[in-house]
Symmetry: D2
Subunit: 343 residues, 4 copies
């Protein structure tokens, strides 16, 4: 059994990790920490876990965490980087669900996240945990930077086109919509039901922290600078990301449908839908799947990719478990076999 710990388990990402890990056949959850809720039973904070989890939140104690095989950080940005070096030294593998290790360029990281980085020496070692690109390096990683939710949907949507160089990578557009849980479990007026319900809006159009993350990953794939316009929007739903992606095809005659089907044929968590489909966010709710559909409206040279994920699963905790499975050599799908709740 893999002994797993969670640091910062009181938010949505932490709760989703709990939901997945308590039922994972090869995992024993041994520690869950929270400064604010220390001493409180997990099931008191998350009533849905009554009967499934006996743990109580503890302080993020170094010894307890060092006794884990793997520690997940479900903390705000800037926390993991202060604790990770000691854990790695103690031989613990680390998966950070926050952004501390996602960008390779420390200056860029510090600019977008507005604080000095505590261990820039680890940025090169950290593996970007998108199995569809980095599966083999993830297997051997000590430290995995779990991708952001928007980047997961956008990168998987653009990947086959960009890998093959079939589109103009200087003019990519990602119009992306996310449910409210993507903002985390924080009390903010703008996320109240009375504000975000029956409403829709774009936000952070001038620039969002996931932009450099997407750009860095696509640039590594294509080998040249990528131009991306990325506009996130807030959906009046709890879960779900829908990315509508636009790109100009260099070669308007290619069989893009086959390209995607071939690229993802062995990927358990990327489902390329039949031609003419429109994936809906509920079809992946609670699952680790990314479903993708492709359109060429009016046969023009603009391709439209529709890509949906559950922001808390493939966009966060599920992908983290997928990464853990790879890092520990267990079945990649272990603990990730849920079927979307319908309706």
């Amino acid at each position: 059994m893999i002994k797993a710990g969670i640091v910062g388990g009181t938010g949505y990402t932490g709760a989703e990790l709990l939901r997945l890990l308590v039922r994972h056949p090869q995992v024993e959850l041994t520690a869950i920490t929270s400064r604010g809720k220390s001493g409180k039973a997990v099931a008191d904070l998350f009533p849905g876990l009554r009967g499934h989890c006996d743990l109580a939140f503890g302080e993020p104690d170094a010894d307890t965490l060092a006794a884990c095989d793997v520690v997940f950080f479900a903390t705000p940005n800037g926390t993991a980087m202060t604790l990770v070096p000691a854990l790695l030294d103690a031989g613990v593998k680390v998966i950070d669900l926050a952004a501390d290790f996602r960008l390779r360029d420390v200056d860029q990281w510090q600019q977008w996240y507005g604080m000095p980085h505590a261990c820039p020496q680890l940025l090169d070692e950290a593996v970007y945990g998108l199995p569809e690109i980095n599966r083999e390096t993830i297997r051997n990683a000590r430290l995995v930077a779990n991708p952001g939710c928007y980047p997961t949907a956008v990168i998987l949507g653009f990947l086959p086109l960009v890998e093959k160089g079939l589109v103009d990578s200087t003019r990519l557009i990602a119009d992306v919509k996310s449910g409210a849980s993507g903002a985390g479990r924080k009390a903010a007026v703008g996320l109240l039901l009375a504000e975000a319900g029956e409403n829709f809006k774009a936000y952070a159009a001038p620039g969002h922290r996931h932009l450099p993350e997407i750009r860095q990953t696509l640039q590594a794939v294509v080998g040249m600078p990528v131009g991306l316009t990325f506009v996130p929007h807030l959906l009046p739903t709890i879960r779900g990301i829908h990315a509508t992606l636009y790109a100009v095809l260099d070669d308007a005659d290619g069989d893009v449908q086959s390209l995607y089907e071939d690229r993802y044929v062995d990927e358990a968590y990327v489902d390329v839908l039949p031609p003419g489909s429109h994936p809906d966010t509920r079809s992946v709710r609670g699952t680790n799947l990314c479903r993708i559909a492709l359109h060429r409206p009016q046969g023009r040279d603009t391709i439209v990719v529709l890509s949906v994920i559950d922001n808390l699963v493939k966009g966060a905790a599920g992908q983290a478990v997928q990464n853990m499975n790879l890092m520990f050599g267990v079945e990649e799908a272990a603990g990730l076999d849920a079927i979307a709740l319908f309706p």
Copy 2:
């Protein structure tokens, strides 16, 4: 492996049965029928099942169904009763998720359901499938009438009080709220998002078909006529039933909290919350649980019971699987270990 068939698998109850049965470790789903969708792949109708279910809908063919060990009816009221006798004769066990076998009194059934009953001779044999009351008879039943969603929430909420005769059974009040999926997957203007969203209303206050079902069950428990005022309401949610129950205590000094905890201590799917709790519907979403909390506002002699279920699980498909497990002697909890999605 239990060979299971589903008749009428295109509605919400059928879809939920599919979700549960395709992952049930002791079940092989061998037939699913739908007159309207015959020939269509299940995964085409329910994209969330892509990769989990290879079946196609077939005609409700007698031979195919007769080869099953158990057949679930997820059909409109009035369908099961025309097919059940032949299936029972063929040695197939039947669980009807519609209302055909819920009422013992054929006249009452015909009055509330507005049609003649096709096999009244089976009404006595049919076992009302609420395991918390009828577990032993369910084990030996050929034909189980799976309870309605409202009745499940209301009966489990009132049961300990009524069993012990602690309340005035002539003045029970059940103020019950249900999500929109309770009305089934039927195109009706009143259930449109643009009508039922951002809205709340009572309906069927003069009388709802679940009233005689609740009354019959409670009367059997208490051994005398029961007076119940039952007002259902339509919630702007997809899933979830919340029953707020009111009764007048005969003995204002009793320890009702202990009574409930003791009554349900061995019940895996009834969770009595600590004093002071308010269960929310999401804490049981996608699960087979009924969570209950008890209040005595201002110490008066009126007791308030709060009871929540997922209408499609404990209120329909989950309870049907629980009944199947009992009928076939497998672990009662098999296939029913989901954790509620949060948030």
Copy 3:
């Protein structure tokens, strides 16, 4: 023109007052204050008011407010009572939309609101601003305590029965559901879309501050102690209150429908629906109406009253404007002629 000021205009009640007053034909809005937002343009905080309101928030300055004819308090509980005496001395009429002047008994007030009352001497003078009961005293009032949202729906629903002594007033039950805006514009985790959406729960079952308010008002009407079980619930909607009220009729033969129609025949803002109706909350959204329907399920002696209001209009700002109209002798309906948005 009535010169009106609003103290605390940044919450939902204040915003709704703004929406109503800027279009009121006899009102000139002369001051709006907010300690936190002083200097900010109203239309910057509430973009929907762009083009309708040029004011900026100011400090709650005594002289500015003293120059108003009427001042509305849309502040948290405990604020109005510190400012009201000086305003009354300056000849300004006051309508408090918070709870400071709703209870006559200072001890009870202090117990439920958890603070000492700053001007208990005004509790006797303050008029409870429910026009359907106190129209004439409101006309002459200097200080109006605007009713709470739940009390408005519950009292109007029970009033005709209680006035005539037709029900057992010791066993009233009010099962009441409110949209999330009823909790105000405060950042609280429980009110996030990701928490309150797709969810339903009771809260404050042991006791809610609106209980003594309802009880006091009904007791004054009936002239004897009233026993009320009051259970509030949180709806996943923005606006709307639906009260489902239960009472036992002393005389099961009375014509309750006519009783209600007669009682409210001259009330512009109470609409008694035809027999068999189920009012929905959206039918009063944005309006000052209370719509009521009556049921006697199965002809039993329990009467069910369904009563809906918009918590921010008839349950707050609209009723406040109705009271202002009465206090200043203008048409009672001035500024209150909106039609509910549908759908």
Copy 4:
């Protein structure tokens, strides 16, 4: 007073027309027809109109309609074209809220709408009712084709850029999201709360009927073929359209903010927000406004226009009233002064 009639008043567009016209100071609503609901009181179908409208639905009788000054068609596509010629002959002005007269090219119309056109001779005369483009011709029109909801949001969003030729008109992208009321009041499974709630998806990506309408209008402005990729999405809200528009600037140095402010300075119903804004759909709910904000993410040459309307007001009934006001020489804003409900 303008005597107005509505043909087909039972859908959402008709209901919204009713809401606006019954309070319009210069309008007397004299006829409302519906084949299906003839004889039924309007207030019975739309309870929110109780007390505001005494009319009953009648048959679409030629004489009754001919006695009107103006007739609004809120009918399905294909109905108005069979009745309009006779009404025009009778001297009645007509505003069609359906699509019968929106396209100038009869072949294109027949291709997208799948039926022969009944009066192609009127296509040239019909004026496309977007006041911001065609105000003067609307004033003199006998027949106005009221724009579609998506076209209104998209055209107003692109208009200043396209008029000035500042963008590459062959590569426009419109990623547009609409609330469920945009699909009309029809019972369709995909629009149920249990299907469209807590969900998001694109639809009609291969081609939507509003595409040729947008293209035709922009082409008339720019004087050359326009290339547009248009992807509509279904929002889990009742009302609201949010268009996110992308275009490549030919001249990256232009002051686009000023361009928009200048273009719309005299337009009462187009509100250009300050730089950095993100309009939300609720800020125009129930109003005739289009609110627009402009972004140049990372200073690149791609401009992002955010444009929101209420699909039933500026996208349908409100714009129809605005057109009527122009056609009859009354104040353009008459009856259109509502403030958005907040929250």
